[in-house]
């Protein structure tokens, strides 16, 4: 039984190790992939749980890539809270390890990299692709989170306010949470 759990943990970690170097544009480009793996492929989470976890990671202080810890926790939850925590720390370590190692190498060789044509082509070529991915991520999260018109209206309003004002997003989440509590936003 324990051996099975360990195999599961290693599978979770292997999945995130492989994704680490594809976290372009600050890491949010991986969100559709996280959704696909945790909801469709491995069934760690239901779609509504994925949306919840995304919101928790956004609301919490600290880098939003910590959502991977919550995904790992969801993967390990059936085996109990202890395994869930182990799986959470393992998943977060796995997503950070390869990109951290690459970053160390990049820092140590930056003086040579800075004027290299590879650096210029990478930066300018991957930028537009990142842009396209981020729009796909936004649409995917919207589809997962909102199952009715009320939710969509709130999401579009928050999107507009995020772009036009400098109000802290925590306020939007607090107000929307209040609207939800009074039954004005359902799912």
């Amino acid at each position: 039984m324990r051996l099975n759990d360990l195999g599961h943990l290693l599978q979770v970690m292997g999945t995130f190790l492989g994704l680490s170097l594809f976290s372009l544009g600050g890491g949010n480009t991986l969100l559709t992939e996280y959704h696909h793996l945790s909801v469709d492929e491995y069934c760690w989470l239901r779609p509504s749980q994925f949306a919840d976890i995304y919101a928790l990671a956004e609301a919490a202080p600290g880098p939003s890539s910590m959502i991977v810890g919550l995904l790992g926790m969801g993967a390990g939850w059936p085996e109990g809270p202890g395994w869930a925590l182990l799986s959470a720390y393992g998943a977060e370590a796995a997503i950070l390890l390869p990109s951290t190692l690459l970053m160390v190498v990049a820092c140590l060789s930056w003086n040579r990299l800075r004027d290299s044509p590879w650096r210029v082509a990478f930066e300018r070529g991957l930028g537009p692709i990142t842009l396209g991915i981020l729009f796909a991520v936004g649409v995917k999260i919207l589809q997962t989170a909102d199952t009715n018109a009320g939710g969509v209206v709130v999401s579009l309003l928050v999107c507009l306010l995020m772009l036009r004002t400098r109000i802290s997003p925590l306020w939007f989440m607090a107000v929307a949470g209040g609207l939800g509590a009074f039954g004005l936003i359902n799912r």
Binding site: S99, L108, V158, A176, L184
Partner: protein, 196 residues
């Protein structure tokens, strides 16, 4: 004191890096992480010049991985190589990650309660709006480059409508885009065009 501060005689050790980044993480509760790391690393502790810090931000944004985490790795590597990177990373993540894991345990235990679920239904709608705004936030810088907009549009359509997965997409589209944007002395495009 109008003189810029001299760099410290002894660079920060592993413990200093850990404590410095922990300080950044604690100060930044509620947001503004990169502003806080600049204040603490450059202005308070004088570990780096502002220029060195800004170079770090450039590298952190360019390479894969979360920007703030990459920034911690840069600061750690700058002084102590790989061990420094690990110390800085641990300082940056320890408190926020542990807090989030506590919230996560509570979530998985109690999310089925109707009251919790109703609040989350609202919070999730707001968070989805934040996700949608990410693309629009960086759209401006590509507005004058039709090829970039085309690349972005094709990427979006492939992912959103044809459900192409991220890894094969980046592995095919990335090199093609790099070939197009390979710097050529006679043919420069985009915002980096030299003024005559």
């Amino acid at each position: 004191m109008t003189e810029p501060p001299a760099p410290p005689a002894t660079p920060p050790g592993l413990g200093d890096l850990f404590r410095g980044m922990l300080m950044v993480a604690l100060s930044a509760f509620g947001g503004g992480l990169s502003a806080w790391s600049q204040r603490i690393i450059v202005e308070q502790r004088h570990w780096m010049s502002n220029e060195e810090f800004l170079t770090g931000l450039t590298v952190a944004r360019l390479f894969p991985g979360p920007n703030q985490i990459n920034m911690a790795v840069y600061v750690g590597t700058f002084f102590r190589g790989l061990p420094g990177a690990v110390a800085a990373l641990a300082g940056m993540l320890l408190v926020p990650f542990t807090l989030l894991m506590l919230v996560g345990l509570l979530y998985f235990q109690f999310h089925a309660l109707p009251a919790i679920d109703r609040v989350l239904a609202g919070v999730v709608a707001a968070a989805a709006g934040m996700a949608l705004s990410m693309g629009f936030k960086i759209l401006d810088q590509y507005w004058k480059d039709p090829v970039a907009l085309l690349l972005a549009a094709v990427t979006f359509v492939l992912m959103a409508f044809f459900h192409v997965r991220l890894v094969p997409l980046v592995l095919v589209a990335g090199p093609l885009a790099m070939v197009w944007y390979w710097p050529r002395p006679s043919h420069s495009q985009g915002p980096e065009r030299e003024p005559r």
